[in-house]
């Protein structure tokens, strides 16, 4: 277990372990960076024991899929993995795998950062042509937040609409919310109990920092997030076939899957493979956290073009200099500039991005100009998302959430 990275639930800050003075805090409930350039991912990869996404892996993905790697992969936003080569081996043998990702539906309005794993997952689904299951952990949010259960379930449906609006293929995608689905699938519950038998309180204490005053719901929850890693949890999709699983997710979710990778072989299943993303920074910079309760910390998917413009202009942390003269002379710092950072996520054109980097770094491009470029890049992404979301009804969500066969070749 990684001990230097502080792993602690929000309820027990006194139980932080390790050198939290020096290190970033990264766990499913906390991401706190001590540096304006954000979390030190090389350090984190070493601590978590995962592998770096390197040039060789990118080349192999390109070779196997015949497609140029997604810009989030090329640019190192998905920078860490476990067993990606195993998955590619299977693909080369003509064997199928499936994708699993998820979201804890904690607020009505998702922000742009929430789209990143789904954009990338959609790309993976398309280039590999594989089925995808998406877990909405409304039970987790109910257990961790001061939230009533009906509200948690409602948030799951609203978040599902934003996810569907990313353009997932209903024939290949099953979305489920725990509080409604688990009571519809005996095999899923049975796998949950199997996993719960393999994991002790000591283990979840070590991995997640749970304490004696945590409720038993939190303590057993890791099994709920682990269960979709077993294809036998979805008999209506996979019948009795044992398919390996690839999980694209932000790296803070890795503790769940380190636990699952320990358990899976004991249940006769393959360890899930993972591909981890960096965190999407808050408007105020990589040291602060985006928060649904602070409307100015992020661009929300329901923001108007005017709100987007205002937020970027007023709140996006700038790597520029104090005066125009100084900026022209010294240039801006792209490593901390949020407008530039956001562009790396959302501007697909590599050449244009590189030109922006050069111009801003040299001082040829001013802060107002790079912010305008960002506004022009993300406004259509958000407004088009809103257009697509409008077309998604409760019926659409029901269809994505209906346990059913998915289309995949085997």
């Amino acid at each position: 277990m990684a001990t230097e990275v502080s792993i602690t639930p929000p309820q027990s800050p006194e139980k932080k372990i390790g050198n939290e003075e020096e290190d970033d805090v990264v766990d499913p409930w906390n991401v706190v960076s001590k540096s304006q350039t954000g979390v030190d991912y090389d350090k984190l990869i070493k601590k978590f024991g995962s592998s770096k996404v390197d040039a060789e892996l990118l080349q192999r993905i390109e070779k196997v899929t015949g497609k140029r790697p997604h810009h989030l992969l090329r640019r190192g936003m998905f920078m860490s993995h476990r067993d990606m080569h195993t998955i590619l081996n299977e693909v080369e043998k003509g064997k199928p795998f499936y994708l699993y990702t998820g979201r804890g539906p904690s607020s009505d309005a998702m922000h742009m950062g929430h789209l990143i794993p789904f954009f990338f997952t959609k790309w993976l689904q398309e280039v590999f042509d594989v089925p995808l299951v998406i877990q909405l952990t409304d039970d987790e949010k109910f257990l961790w937040k001061d939230l009533d259960m009906d509200k948690a379930r409602k948030l799951a449906v609203e978040n599902a609409k934003d996810i569907i609006a990313c353009g997932f293929d209903v024939d290949k995608t099953f979305i489920f919310a725990d509080l409604d689905f688990i009571g519809q699938c005996p095999e899923f519950y049975q796998n949950m109990v199997r996993i719960q038998k393999c994991v002790t309180f000591n283990q979840v204490k070590g991995i997640f920092g749970f304490g004696d005053s945590d409720c038993i719901g939190k303590i057993s929850f890791p099994a709920v997030q682990a269960t979709p890693c077993l294809s036998s949890s979805f008999p209506f999709i996979f019948n009795k076939a044992k398919l390996p699983c690839l999980i694209p997710c932000a790296i803070d979710q890795d503790p769940y899957f380190r636990m699952t990778r320990d358990v899976a072989p004991r249940l006769g299943a393959q360890k899930p493979a993972l591909i981890h993303s960096v965190f999407f920074p808050a408007l105020q910079g990589a040291m602060t956290k985006m928060s649904a309760s602070d409307n100015n910390s992020a661009i929300f998917l329901n923001d108007t073009p005017k709100q987007i413009k205002n937020k970027v202009n007023k709140h996006a942390f700038s790597g520029g200099q104090a005066t125009i003269e100084e900026h022209r002379e010294k240039g801006g710092n792209c490593d901390v500039d949020i407008a530039y950072q956001y562009l790396t996520f959302f501007l697909e054109d590599d050449e244009r991005l590189e030109q922006i980097r050069k111009d801003y770094s040299s001082g040829a491009m001013l802060t107002g100009e790079i912010k305008k470029l960002l506004i022009d890049t993300i406004t259509p992404i958000v407004t088009e998302h809103q257009e697509r979301r409008k077309t998604i009804t409760d019926e659409t969500v029901k269809e994505f959430m209906r346990p059913r066969k998915l289309k995949y070749t085997y």
Copy 2:
């Protein structure tokens, strides 16, 4: 919490608390008495904080139901309760309640002692004319025992046949096995999670003696046994009606329901009422435990008349004297004599039982004679049970286990 009674799971014997040198051990996994007359129930009632079933309660039950109390009630086998008067108040107001009992299906062959709570529950169901839910905790047995899941599920079905053979009315009885049912009922799972949010590890540690090396399945299991106490867990039976719940069970199960009674009001539900039975003694006497692995410790429901005869004659602990002469002179001790003890459970005729007590105590009746009386009493009970069980098919079990409306007046 009762602290003098040792509450400890089998895995962590070092964690026993209280004066285990002096006290009986009574929890869901251990019943150990230090006395040949068995557990000191008056002491246990005081420690658990329940109420004694007294003459006043018996009279009231007779008045409200118009039926003479069951012999197990008259003779003090159901000797402790919580809130029975509240249930009777409801009945007097013409309001319905429901019964909930259960069993951990740990072996193919149930023994005669297992029938006691079901015989009594059947009587309660008949005299009050109320619906009944019976939980088979195959998940618990899977978590606690070295048992594979399919075997646990199979045991649940086999045990259900023995339960059904007690004569329950299919129109008023719903039997469910956790591993199959929970994945068929979102409302049940949702209530489980609600309960899991209300109970901390500290609490289950205090109540059940769980330790850090226990698996998270055990730690969260108490919520599974608590959930049937909420009528909203069975929407197909109760719709949205909130019915109070009465639980007939052996007193070792009380810790689960003490916990539930603490949680229920926080979930807007009534505390479950309970009526507790004493333990059914092993053939070797009240100080030893009946065990499915020791075939001679109990009369099993699949024993032949010859086996019953042999077991009673060879293994039933005798309160008689060493020689006939001594027995005639001093008489037998009914308080420890297993033949007499078993007769108090199974011989319904009060006058005849009293005559046997007198004759055996005086020495007029010999050990061989009282054992023969027991054999003659229980052999037809077992063989008739076997006859009824033969008629119960997997289809019958399926019908009892099908989530459906039950007949009750409201």
